[in-house]
Point group: C2
Chain length 579, copies 2
């Protein structure tokens, strides 16, 4: 697999441009920007009509994110998916009145050909893995909108839905397939490319649609896929209809599903652009600062608490819109994490710090809790849930440092439990007159509001072996807990006084930077998710880990591998050993 | 990773010798034999005293299975684990009176240093993966004996228990650690070798012992491990005691645990050697034949039904002992599968066939069911459960061909549901006057007797999306179902008449041989285990897949990787990208 140097680094950060950077085989040196908005979309069209929206995929083949390939047949790359993720999010915040989203293709007789093969063949291993991770998070966000926001997705497969194209359909609630003797759904990755479907396809086939395993085996090894009645019989799609009846059937279906959704129409808020100032060693947002110490392979994310009290009413929250502290902070943190993931590949450890008034943080939590029935409060908490899951899924060591002046309370305290370790200062630092650091737990830490992908709260996952500790901690809700107390309650890893603090933290960070990056990724992926498994953890653990393995194997990516030789006219040459 | 040619192929099959073959980096060309017996052990001593057994690990460092390394400090290779697996099995069949097994070291101040690092560094990727799979199955068999056979394992850690050494302890019910300021448990794989603990360590730490994730993080990154009180506080071990009190404490503990186990003393049966005749292209057992067509990358396993009726009484079953059909067949099938896994690396597909009288198979099933309370009947069914799980975990495509003369009934019908696909002939073959093939389901297919590692029966897993089909099939228990009926009930993949049979089957087998072996392994590992996840599936899927990935990464196995450079005095040189 060629890890070629980036072709060009065209950092034009202030433009919020999707195509701010490009590289023929992305290796992190040219930055990818995750911020976009509908008028900048190259590949999607979003239209609304009453409580039904139509999201049309019409990929501009001349607008790839990286260089060296064309996005033919509605195939996609990370750039296409960044727009899709944006559209899904905007539907929730800007169009809460929408109850059904019709996801369709703008091309004739092609729904989507999946991830672009030339892009995959040319991409670095790191880019392939990060690409799959982000696209998986996007598919999960469709299911999250369906489950929690009453926005149901109807997928209209008007022709080929191959690989990632069918995986996109699988993330939807209802799949409609044209029955014209040629339109088909397929997962041709294995027979065609010697890799696996990388966006949850295998897991959703077996665990969401519960396709019988031998049918799944036939389906996943049949390049041309399955069409017509068999696709329905095997539960691969929900219904088929002649092309002549398609539009009518879609309209009827969408209206029927919309009629079943509760919820009154509300006016949305505008998701204004996330403002960011980039310097050589930092990303500055309003409530988030990211400082890079690249020599030490560190990124420190400082989260700032709110400037004042929460608004007096939900209406005022709506008026504040994207500037409402919890929402703005969540969006900034999300952008900061994604930026590190894709653009700072050598950062070993992310350090979380916070600065602000813990009681104000809790006041905002209380405001959101008291207004949990309000659509915007609900969406903001769901956004935090997704951002925190993004943190959990980030393949960097995570450590939270709890120091005087910090505000790790309620929602922000989740970053203590999301971290692989936490260190908390006992008392004060010499020359610093701020009060000793304290953690304050809130209802949000126990309620399941921010459930991890395993379905449990971070506190419940932490205390799987000592359920009494959950109750003991719960009793302390709203009480500031200083370091030694926090340690006693098992909430932090280590409490250190100012004599040891600097050395211990430094040693830990140095140690982390000295370990094998791959070994750490595998270890953390195993230690972070104790307890139950869900479809989501299966996708991120079982499927992803196998895919990572296969993405390294010569049979896929070697000079004679299937991904490398695709389209060359030459057959791949496989090492025949079954391992 | 050097895939060096085997040093020597010393096939002396008739000797049932563990060291029948050796290679410096096993690539399947020199055969490994899984059959052994206590008087041939090099590394273990098994002693019994009333209802307590002592299993002593005293590895002969001069007797490695492959060449090129010494098994110092009670480190192990596959040869050591083959003996351990044999001892665990013999305890169940030959010593049903045993209620507690004390697992200890025969070395001074060393319990076990884990998998031998030089062996790992020199082994092929395939050998590393197969080694880990087998050792995992052995650890699982300890837990299976504890859960289902009332044989509890007490592990006595008298010194270092590092890596695989601690993982062996983790498989036991109770871990006792000497508190002498130096004895410690550790998982140093990541800091020392840039790989993961490969025998379930991470999963058992988080999910069995439910160690808090930040403690687990500290533990798994601390080369020297954890000792004394902290090891108890973090739930890594169950108790610590001074060395002077160790023997007494072990005796007291073993007796206390034995006193809590039910069950009357029974006299065991002798597990006589599994007789096998090997030719260039076959393995012949009494009830199993394996035919290799290596050009086509096929192994066909023919299972033969019983010669006559089941015995009249449990006593007669005990008298037949290892020759009792269900037990002999299970042991032969187990050996056949292991032989293919380790010694026939290029076999793409295993074809299961059977030959015999279905009603006789069901009669044996009924006999075992009627005597389910008898210790030997219970052990035989548990053995079948383990063998079938071994089949599920085998990284080869599995297909079952159901033809006239076959006896896929009850227990043997599990091989239809364990397969990735099944093909059944409609009617008869020209020139063959045998009756059309029929499947007969039995109680064993529905009861959970043969639960997969996901905790469900194979039928329940198969019909996850159509629970009514389970009930429909259950109604047909004991009724012979011919091909078209079997297809209607969803029990087989394809029913074919004799015009299509040969071509369709051939095309499938050719297609399977043409796909990427790695891609198939990943796909099958995802499609075979729909539904719930358990600690066992986590170990085999999540942990194993990450380990496979890491076993391919240059940071572990490259020329400057940690595994390669271990002991060389040179530090590893890592690619610093976090993927």
């Amino acid at each position: 697999m060629g890890e070629a140097a980036p072709k060009a680094a065209q950092a034009t950060d202030s433009a919020h441009g999707l195509k701010a950077s490009a590289a023929s085989a992305h290796d992190g040196a040219a930055r990818i920007d995750f911020r976009t908005e509908p008028h900048r979309y190259h590949h999607w069209k979003l239209a609304t009509d009453g409580d039904i929206a139509t999201l049309t995929m019409d990929v501009d083949e001349k607008a790839p994110l990286l260089g060296g390939y064309e996005l033919k047949l509605n195939s996609y790359d990370l750039g296409v998916d960044i727009e899709l993720a944006d559209a899904i999010e905007r539907l929730r915040f800007e169009h809460p009145e929408i109850k059904v989203i019709i996801l369709k293709s703008g091309k004739d007789r092609v729904f989507c050909a999946g991830a672009n093969i030339r892009m995959l063949a040319g991409a670095t291993h790191a880019h392939k893995v990060n690409f799959c991770k982000f696209t998986n998070e996007t598919r999960n966000s469709i299911e999250d909108a369906s489950e929690n926001s009453g926005q149901k997705y109807v997928c209209v497969v008007n022709g080929t839905a191959a690989g990632g194209g069918y995986e996109l359909a699988l993330a939807c609630d209802h799949i409609m397939l044209v029955d014209d003797g040629s339109a088909a759904v397929s997962l041709p990755e294995l027979p065609l490319l010697a890799v696996l479907p990388g966006t949850g396809g295998l897991t959703r086939v077996t665990d969401k649609r519960k396709v019988r395993r031998d049918h799944a085996d036939v389906f996943c090894t049949t390049e041309e896929g399955v069409k017509g009645k068999r696709a329905v019989d095997w539960r691969l799609v929900d219904e088929v209809m002649p092309r002549s009846k398609l539009d009518e059937a879609v309209e009827t279906r969408a209206k029927a599903i919309a009629a079943k959704q509760d919820g009154k129409a509300a006016k949305g808020i505008a998701l204004t652009p996330v403002e960011r100032t980039r310097t050589a060693n930092s990303n500055e947002y309003k409530f988030v600062s990211v400082a890079f110490e690249r020599e030490d392979r560190l990124a420190t994310i400082m989260l700032r608490g709110p400037d004042g009290a929460p608004p007096a009413s939900p209406d005022e929250m709506v008026t504040q819109g994207a500037a409402f502290w919890p929402l703005q902070l969540a969006r900034e943190l999300d952008d900061a994490i994604l930026d590190i993931r894709l653009n700072e590949l050598e950062v070993a450890t992310i350090v979380f710090k916070s600065d602000g008034d813990a009681q104000r943080v809790l006041a905002y939590d209380a405001f959101l809790g008291a207004n949990a029935g309000h659509w915007l409060a609900r969406e903001i908490r769901l956004k935090w849930k997704r951002v925190l899951k993004r943190v959990d899924m980030t393949s960097r060591s995570l450590v939270t440092l709890i120091e005087p002046g910090s505000c790790f309370a309620g929602t922000l305290a989740e970053l203590i439990f999301a971290a692989d370790r936490s260190y908390m200062l006992i008392g004060t630092m010499q020359g610093d007159n701020r009060a000793p650091a304290a953690i304050v737990l809130g209802e949000a830490n126990f309620s399941g509001t921010y459930a991890m992908s395993n379905g449990l709260s971070r506190v419940a996952t932490r205390f799987l072996g000592e359920p009494d500790s959950i109750e003991a901690a719960k009793v302390e809700t709203s009480n500031p807990l200083e370091a030694e107390q926090a340690e006693e309650f098992g909430l932090i890893t280590f409490a250190l006084d100012d004599i040891d603090w600097e050395d211990e933290v430094r040693l830990f960070l140095e140690e982390r930077a000295s370990f094998s990056p791959d070994g750490l990724t595998g270890m953390e992926a195993n230690l972070r998710f104790a307890g139950p498994e869900t479809m989501e953890t299966k996708i991120f653990a079982r499927l992803t880990a196998w895919q990572n393995w296969i993405f390294q194997r010569p049979n896929a990516v070697g000079p004679e591998g299937a991904l490398t030789r695709y389209g060359s006219g030459q057959k791949p040459n496989f090492d025949l050993k079954r391992v």
